[in-house]
């Protein structure tokens, strides 16, 4: 899979590229709109990661140019602005998804993978981590032979963590997926819910599954 990052902030581009290369993508970096255009014209890409505010040629213009060349190329827009109207303009211009800075690399990776898959993967009905089991159809959770009763929010939180076992989810990601933006920057609501969740699924058992990664967030793994 070959990806192009068009981003004028060299360091940001490199850190994203490094992370993506670690996930076995091959990544090119263009530092401005014109360079991005040249890369796009010269090579075939599977995905374009695009900053909207670019020198020489703006991101929106580059986006239109890319759409003229290959209308199926998935485009993930990075933006420092997240006002609603900006989102609308980006989607009108042909972006498939957007991420607002400052974003978590984990979130970017999720979006990139989703865009590359394009067609939604068949959802597994039963998620498993070690002896913990979550059934999406019956909305039941059990660990080993024991059934665990969760509140709706606890269930949503656990489902989100288990949707990608082993990945670290940042508090921002959890907040945006399980709650909504109203809670951003205000409360330690995520920590509180994780604590309650641990009481139910970890504390009665010998092996802990939910792990705290200090400064980053939480992950569930064996």
């Amino acid at each position: 899979m070959r990806l192009l990052i068009v981003e004028d902030d060299r360091k940001l581009a490199e850190f994203v590229a490094r992370g993506l290369r670690a996930e076995h993508f091959s990544v090119d970096i263009a530092g401005d709109g014109i360079e991005g255009q040249q890369y796009l014209d010269s090579y075939q890409y599977d995905l374009l990661i695009l900053d909207l505010m670019l020198p020489k040629l703006s991101g929106s213009e580059l986006l239109r140019h890319a759409r003229r060349g290959d209308s199926t190329l998935p485009v993930l827009v990075l933006t420092a602005r997240d006002a609603t109207e900006d989102k609308v303009t980006q989607f009108e211009a042909g972006a498939d998804d957007y991420l607002t800075k400052p974003f978590d690399f984990a979130e970017l990776l999720v979006r990139v993978k989703a865009l590359l898959r394009r067609t939604p993967v068949a959802r597994t009905d039963v998620l498993r981590v070690a002896d913990l089991e979550l059934n999406r159809l019956t909305q039941q959770v059990r660990r080993g032979s024991q059934r665990i009763e969760l509140t709706a929010k606890e269930y949503a939180l656990l489902e989100y963590l288990m949707s990608s076992a082993g990945r670290v989810f940042s508090r921002t990601m959890i907040l945006e997926h399980v709650w909504d933006q109203s809670f951003e920057g205000v409360t330690n609501i995520v920590d509180v819910y994780v604590r309650y969740l641990r009481r139910k699924i970890d504390e009665p058992f010998p092996v802990e599954l939910i792990h705290t990664v200090r400064g980053v967030g939480y992950c569930i793994r064996e």
Binding site: R18, A80, T84, K101, D104, T187, G215, V216
Partner: protein, 473 residues
């Protein structure tokens, strides 16, 4: 009537000054007239007295008293002229006394003799009688037939009548004139005050949100016109500086986002590196926690700058305040439980208002979060909604530590902390209540805070109900 208003005070001053002026003029007129009338009377008495003198001078020594009386009656006719005439020959022989005057203004028989027995020269005396005061000229004279004392008088009644009429006239006119002048002055001042009134009305309607509005310029060509123009210029400068500071806030929070992404990303990759020692992980984690705080701060500033730009007025719909408060409280329940605070969502009456549901939820979240943070274990936080006096009311009350009175006006200021050390521990950026205020002002909501240190704080938000704000969107 406002007793401290300039118009009222001016009118009172007008009235006082005018009263004093009129009183002085009145007193002057009264005494001037008195002097003038008395002088006139004196002259006329002297002329008559001279006539009597001439009669006595010319009379032959042998002329009888009755002939003298006859002569006086014919030439002076005192009764007809309402004059009193008495002629006495030395030492005390009455020669003549006039009869009742035609107007009966005095009783000539009751006029007492002069208090100066025999004056050396002519003089004028005021003599009080039962019927009223008389002005009497007393003239001594000598002729061939002997020495005589001529008394010639007239009643002062008519003079006093004129004076009384003058007093009456002044007493009637003065209050009327003063009242007219004071009332007119009051109206005039009020009238000339009207442009200022209009200016201040417009000025009151200008909020930080619409600094483009201008005051009406009054074309009076004086200080008032200059005042309105200079106020407008000041508004323009204010708007420019507001723009600059908003622009700066927006730019700064945008510019911080890219470096934050890099810092966060790089550090997260370091933490994720399986080769990292756990001590390093801890340190990086601690830095990452600070990065998260910066992130919250930048996000908060961005929210504020977007609200400044009028972002909260775009997506308005009907919002059930009661339901919104109930669902938000439900979501915050565990956070409160965790801190040992009871969160009550009681009496949530269905109140439908118009607004941006997402933003309004943020208001409730921020208020509840704030209340929970500053309520000690075992305390209670209550959220309530009701429709009151045509307003939708949302109330968040806590039994927390309270806010000192001198801090109350500042709690909505950006980065303001009542107690710096404590609230920083709570991880607050000091923007939560500023965001609340910005959203509220975009919704035309009035915020009221009551707080008692040690016993709790109450935030009351009054939302205009849709019926009230018809016509505006």
């Amino acid at each position: 009537m406002n007793h401290r208003s300039l118009a009222f005070r001016l009118a009172v001053w007008y009235a006082l000054l005018l009263s004093a002026t009129f009183a002085l003029v009145g007193i002057g007129m009264f005494y001037g007239l008195d002097q003038y009338l008395r002088a006139n009377l004196r002259d006329s008495l002297r002329r008559r007295s001279l006539q009597v003198e001439q009669i006595l001078q010319q009379a032959p020594a042998a002329l009888s008293d009755s002939a003298i009386a006859e002569a006086i009656n014919t030439r002076v006719s005192p009764e007809f002229n309402n004059r009193f005439v008495r002629v006495t020959r030395a030492p005390a022989t009455p020669v003549y006394r006039s009869g009742e005057p035609a107007d009966r203004s005095f009783d000539s028989a009751a006029v007492p003799p002069p208090d100066v027995p025999w004056p050396a020269s002519a003089l004028v005396r005021q003599i009080d009688t039962a019927a009223g005061p008389l002005l009497v000229s007393i003239t001594p004279m000598a002729s061939a037939s002997g020495r005589y004392l001529i008394e010639l008088g007239t009643a002062l009644g008519p003079v006093e009548a004129v004076q009384r009429r003058l007093l009456g006239l002044l007493g009637l006119l003065l209050p009327v004139l003063v009242a007219c002048a004071a009332g007119g002055g009051y109206l005039l001042v009020n009238w000339s005050w009207r442009p200022v009134e209009r200016m201040s009305q417009t000025a009151e309607q200008i909020s930080v949100q619409d600094l483009d509005a201008r005051l009406p310029v009054v074309a009076t060509g004086d200080a008032l016109q200059r005042l309105s123009i200079s106020l407008n210029l000041m508004l323009a400068r204010l708007r420019d500086s507001m723009h600059t500071s908003r622009r700066f806030l927006a730019d700064a929070s945008h510019e911080l986002r890219t470096p934050l992404t890099v810092i966060k990303g790089e550090l997260q990759q370091l933490v994720a590196d399986p080769g990292a020692r756990s001590e390093e992980r801890e340190r990086i984690g601690s830095v990452l926690e600070e990065v998260a705080r910066l992130e919250h701060l930048v996000a908060g500033l961005l929210v504020l700058s977007r609200l400044d730009a009028g972002d909260a007025r775009r997506e308005w719909c009907d919002v059930n305040l009661g339901e919104l408060a109930a669902s938000t409280a439900e979501q915050m329940h565990l956070v409160a439980d965790d801190r040992g605070v009871r969160l009550q969502a009681s009496a949530l009456a269905p109140v439908t208002i118009r607004g941006d549901a997402g933003r309004l939820k943020q208001v409730i979240v921020n208020l509840l979060d704030n209340a929970i943070k500053f309520t000690p274990r075992g305390g209670t936080v209550t959220v309530r909604t009701e429709a009151l006096d045509g307003n939708g009311m949302l109330e968040v009350r806590d039994s927390g530590i309270g806010i000192p009175a001198d801090s109350l006006p500042h709690v909505f200021d950006r980065f303001y902390r009542v107690d710096a050390a404590r609230s920083r521990d709570e991880g607050g950026a000091g923007l939560g209540l500023s965001i609340v205020r910005s959203i509220c002002s975009a919704h035309g909501v009035e915020i009221e805070i009551d707080s008692i240190v040690g016993s709790g704080t109450r935030f009351r938000l009054s939302f205009p109900l849709p019926a009230v704000r018809q016509g505006s969107t």
